[in-house]
């Protein structure tokens, strides 16, 4: 059954009252905070900088390219930054541009007309410093509207990575602390996958898995000989449906998933609005204010505690304040750090929650780029299956630095990949022209396999963001200045990705067309993490194991900024599990009168 329940009606915002909690941001972290706190009966105000879009009419997931005036492409007056531009130019990238709008690289993909109102215009949102491909979505639900859906758990190989290899810091929590919350996220939001029993990539409570096509089965069997695991894409998608959520349909394998940028107009893929925020609104405890540009955590001058959020109305520019007994930052790894740094006061001269000096530091993410593309020649000309009618193809779990130590780098990487036919054939990249080219595109499309790596970028203190002393955004708020670069470990890891990708394809009997060894620009993975890391020691960390500011007890930071290390797994599911755990704690503390 296709579910198309309308969004719940808005509730009037009352800025004269003090809410139990004010949340900044409406993505995975903010949505989860709203869900958990309202389920505890707390009255919550959520501030979102962007608009609430009529997302179904934005995404038009099933529109054929030929029914679109530009075959799905964004307006021709808009420009998406290319790898080359990120490489040779310095931010702010939109400075002096003749383009009407400028977007991050994501908008260079086909289908970008459907995300043109979701992603930010770089002209309004500059940043400075080292090169960085920063992808931002200022809209209700943030990047969850278009995320890649790969939903993975971390394990103690990640939470206790320092114990394992001596580098960096362990998290102050372990898998046992988070596992019950991963379970809750799985059950509340739905996740498709196949259990493999891997200690380094724990299984979720899976709904019906997607399937593997012929090429993927063969690659899985080949890899199994060396103990490597190719598993169907673990997708944050409900394949069996969710009886408790009237806003989301189950997945019908329609095939818009292969269309970049993503997005799912029946909300089988998780997004924060339909998965978390609308149900929270239905409790009657959530008030939502969009078009609210947070610029500072306000401080009670008497106590030094957080009083609320100073924000600008995006429409009128009016300066306003929302008050809460508790303030929760969930604005994204980099925006939450920016907000803390912007919040300087007599009590917190370094920025709120920043007595350690670690806000903005230990910035980490995933390195990507190395990839391989090839063919199972004997599958050429075989009947084509609907391979993009799945939320994803496959994932190859990490295999480096688990038992053996790699001589040249620490930590690990995994591969995302897929095989077979998409609406736009990947085989169009084949060389040549004419009848033989056309036939090859057609026949080889059932035989194509490709995959690319995602590797852990080490958390290093010197990789950081800070405030630019001069440059301001459209609203006059100081912007971030990046000081972030991949190091030696990332470069060696990326080289190993390319080498092993080739080896795995060769061993599997896949004829290789191309191996790409290029490392993509910092930021490309859209997995920024770690600028307000958690820890037990207030001198070296920003928040507690429950994401509570060490300095300001009624300030919580519940997004990816609190991650101690990046691991190589995609972070969204962990962000939500941790936010759930912390908000349970918060509600409990509030009940006990400690907040």
């Amino acid at each position: 059954m296709l579910l198309r329940a309308p969004a719940p009606p808005p509730k009037d915002v009352d800025l004269s009252r003090t809410y139990d909690a004010v949340i900044v941001g409406s993505g995975a972290a903010g949505g989860m905070a709203a869900h958990v706190l309202t389920s505890h009966g707390l009255d919550v105000l959520m501030l979102e900088a962007g608009k609430k879009l009529d997302i179904e009419s934005e995404l038009k997931s099933m529109e054929w390219p030929y029914d679109h005036p530009r075959r799905g492409e964004k307006p021709y007056t808009a420009h998406a930054l290319s790898f080359n531009e990120y490489t040779i130019r310095q931010p702010p990238y939109a400075q002096g541009t003749p383009w009407k709008t400028m977007y991050s690289y994501v908008q260079g993909w086909g289908g970008s007309d459907y995300s043109k109102n979701i992603l930010v215009n770089e002209q309004d949102h500059p940043y400075t410093g080292t090169r960085y491909a920063w992808v931002r979505a200022r809209v209700l639900g943030g990047k969850t509207n278009i995320w890649g859906r790969l939903a993975l758990r971390l394990s103690d190989y990640d939470f206790k990575a320092k114990t394992h290899d001596g580098y960096g810091d362990d998290w102050p929590i372990s898998y046992a602390d988070v596992a019950p919350y991963y379970d809750k996220v799985d059950l509340y939001l739905g996740i498709a996958g196949h259990p493999e029993g891997l200690p380094y990539l724990p299984d979720s409570l899976f709904q019906r898995s997607t399937r593997l096509n012929a090429a993927e089965v063969r690659l899985r069997q080949s890899l199994a000989r060396s103990g490597r695991v190719l598993t169907p894409y673990r997708a944050g998608v409900t394949t069996d449906g969710l009886k408790h959520n009237k806003y989301r349909s189950r997945c019908f394998g329609r095939g818009a998933c292969g269309r970049h940028v993503g997005g799912c107009d029946i909300h089988a893929a998780f997004d924060s609005p339909t998965g978390l925020i609308y149900p929270a609104l239905d409790t009657g405890h959530l008030t939502l204010r969009t078009g609210s540009i947070a610029r500072e955590v306000t401080i009670d001058p008497g106590t030094g505690k957080a009083r609320g959020i100073a924000f600008l109305d995006a429409g009128t520019g009016q300066a306003l304040e929302a008050r809460g007994r508790v303030v929760i930052l969930a604005a994204s790894t980099l925006e939450s750090a920016r907000l803390m740094l912007l919040s300087r006061s007599a009590h917190h001269p370094n920025g709120v929650g920043n007595s350690s000096g670690h806000v903005g530091h230990n910035f980490c993410e995933h390195v990507m780029g190395p990839s391989v593309y090839g063919f199972y020649k004997d599958l050429a000309g075989k009947p084509r299956t609907i391979d993009d009618g799945r939320p994803g193809g496959f994932y190859i779990a990490r295999y480096r630095n688990l038992r053996e130590r790699h001589p040249s780098f620490i930590r690990g990487y995994g591969f995302e990949g897929s095989s077979g036919t998409e609406m736009f054939p990947s085989t169009a990249r084949l060389p040549g022209f004419g009848a033989s080219y056309k036939k090859a595109v057609r026949e080889m499309s059932s035989a194509a396999v490709h995959m690319g790596g995602f590797g852990e970028v080490l958390a290093r203190y010197e990789n950081a963001v800070g405030l630019d002393p001069e440059v301001k955004d459209k609203w006059g708020i100081p912007v971030l200045r990046f000081s972030f670069q991949f190091g030696d470990n990332e470069k060696k890891m990326a080289a190993d990705m390319a080498d092993t990708a080739r080896e795995m394809f060769e061993e599997a009997g896949i004829e290789i067309l191309s191996v790409d060894r290029k490392v993509l620009t910092e930021g490309w993975s859209i997995h920024e993490l770690g600028t307000a890391r958690m820890g037990a020691d207030p001198k070296t960390s920003v928040v507690s194991p429950f994401q509570q500011s060490h300095d300001v007890k009624n300030l919580f930071v519940v997004d990816g900024s609190t991650h101690v290390s990046a691991s190589c797994q995609n972070p969204t599911w962990t962000i939500m599990a941790l936010a759930w755990r912390s908000c349970d704690y918060l509600a409990d503390q509030m009940r006990q009168g400690n907040l």
Partner: protein
């Protein structure tokens, strides 16, 4: 410009029935003399022929001509705002690219590209395509652009998606296609580490 599926089948049948006729006769452009919104009539005819040479009609389906690829490229360039330097350069590049093709034809065949023989045309396009991986000359770079927009225009068109690729997706499905992983043998653990440490 777009042919129906039935037209394509009829043309394909005619092509099959007349194997001695050069294919160009079968796929003669119906609108060879019409000017586009961006290109003039001669440029349109040349572009139409080049796109059809890249993705020709065959016994399986219509080609770039039937899919209206030249009109797609022309419409795209016509929509470009020439006050934006990159877009103006792009427009100029396309006109220059077509001129390079004609100049190559006059040099090697002593005639315009369209007036050259099929073999001569093929030889010219083959030369331009030779540098596809690492284009060095303007002509080779033009071929890369030409092929890029031809493939994009073709495989996003009805003929490309439905007739040529026989794409069956973008519809509601009861079940994913492929093999249920539960039916596959579990992966044996020898290479997998045990969770001892940490």
């Amino acid at each position: 410009m777009t042919l129906s599926r039935r037209d394509v089948l009829r043309l394909a049948a005619a092509a099959a029935a007349a194997p001695l006729l050069p294919r160009l006769v079968v796929a003669e452009p119906a609108t060879a003399l019409a000017a586009g919104r961006f290109f003039d009539a001669a440029q349109m005819a040349l572009l139409d022929e080049l796109t059809e040479m890249i993705i020709p009609q065959d016994e399986h389906s219509g080609g770039a001509r039937a899919a209206g690829v030249a009109a797609y490229i022309d419409g795209r360039l016509a929509q470009y705002d020439s006050s934006i330097p990159d877009l103006r350069e792009e427009q100029e590049k396309w006109k220059a690219g077509l001129a390079i093709v004609d100049a190559a034809a006059r040099e090697s065949a002593g005639a315009s590209f369209l007036a050259a023989t099929a073999d001569q045309r093929l030889a010219i396009l083959t030369r331009l395509a030779a540098g596809e991986d690492h284009p060095k000359t303007d002509g080779e770079r033009f071929f890369v652009d030409l092929k890029h927009w031809t493939t994009f225009g073709y495989y996003t068109a009805r003929i490309g998606i439905h007739d040529e690729m026989e794409y069956k997706g973008n519809t509601l499905l009861a079940e994913f296609s492929g093999t249920d992983p539960a039916t596959l043998p579990a992966i044996p653990p020898p290479g997998a580490p045990r969770p001892g440490k940490p």
